[in-house]
Symmetry: C2
Subunit: 203 residues, 2 copies
């Protein structure tokens, strides 16, 4: 006998629990929630998921996800085309956009070099980045990769690959978080934030 007295419910719970972070219990709660709502709610949810999956593409310029061949950032004439921010993932684009502190363009690598997970430079959009530095008028490349060993490795690799690039290469500042007390910052971060100290006025 089926676990749930309904094969249809069991199938829905199975499919929902394939999603990351959704176990069987959560999946059952979600399925029962949908059963308690109007049919149109389930239809709307499914339509939005299918629409998204079938119609979203990668921007042909920066490889951010986009509804159009050229994403809304790349096609925005108000953005500064001379500054390129290199990120690992489209989530990082969202994070930086939320800061409202950056007005240039992005380049989404699609990951960072990680030998343990089998991600080599060839799996990333590094050639596409080189092409852009030749084709576009870029004066500064900001490396905004995760502050991990893999991120540092990728930064180093990129700096070697970009040795013929004529502009400036910068990387985002690492230091203690705004609002943090010094005593709770880890030693490496606090050490770096002392080593990379900046003139007081800029802070």
């Amino acid at each position: 006998m089926a676990e749930y007295s309904s094969i249809l419910l069991e199938k829905a719970v199975d499919e929902l629990s394939k999603l990351p972070g959704i176990g069987k219990k959560t999946a059952l709660r979600l399925a029962l929630h949908l059963l308690g709502e109007e049919k149109i709610k389930t239809e709307q949810l499914c339509k939005s998921l299918n629409d998204m999956r079938n119609n979203i593409v990668l921007c042909r310029r920066c490889y951010n996800i986009s509804d159009e061949p050229l994403c809304s950032i790349c096609s925005n004439p108000k953005r500064d085309e001379n500054i390129l921010c290199v990120v690992a993932d489209m989530r990082d684009v969202l994070a930086i956009e939320r800061t409202c502190s950056f007005n240039g363009l992005y380049h989404v690598l699609g990951g960072i070099i990680n030998p343990i997970e089998g991600i080599s430079p060839n799996d990333l959009r590094i050639n596409e980045l080189l092409e852009r530095t030749k084709r576009e008028e870029i004066t500064e490349i900001i490396l905004a990769l995760p502050a991990t060993i893999e991120g540092d490795t990728t930064n180093y690799y990129l700096s070697r690959v970009l040795k013929d690039f004529n502009g400036t290469i910068t990387t985002i500042a690492k230091g203690i978080s705004v609002g943090d007390a010094l005593e709770y910052a880890d030693e490496v971060t606090l050490g770096r934030s002392i080593a990379n100290r900046i003139p007081y006025n800029k802070g």
Copy 2:
């Protein structure tokens, strides 16, 4: 500008975050997960949700959810039709079925009496329960409602309504959980488990 550089993604995140316990961040993670998978995965998920929502019905006898007019428990000839277990919700049916300790039939009330949430006896399937006691050959009714004040209230109400019922009315035992140390059990539970002590052999 859209928060996510993609209206389609934003729409999907909006719909996902309407689900209970799913916030914007989780919804975004789920949406990006689907984007990273084959299109067929999203289609399968949505098909199973729509199939479930459009085709599941309530069993006409016990009001458990079911794929057929009569659910797989009610239509199973091996179940004991003389014992009826009254539960608040179909989740409780699942919970009791998992114990493999009950071989009778169910009656799903659809809730319990809760004046604060505005649930009165008329909102529950109590008349349907009375009808079953007249129409079916039931010798025992087990009240398996939540061990809360509302559950106790509903138990009391049902015992009054069922005063003409000729069989036995029982309720599930309340006591300390199997595996629990006495010192961590709350006073009410421990008190009840002493008051309702049973002969040693049955334990």
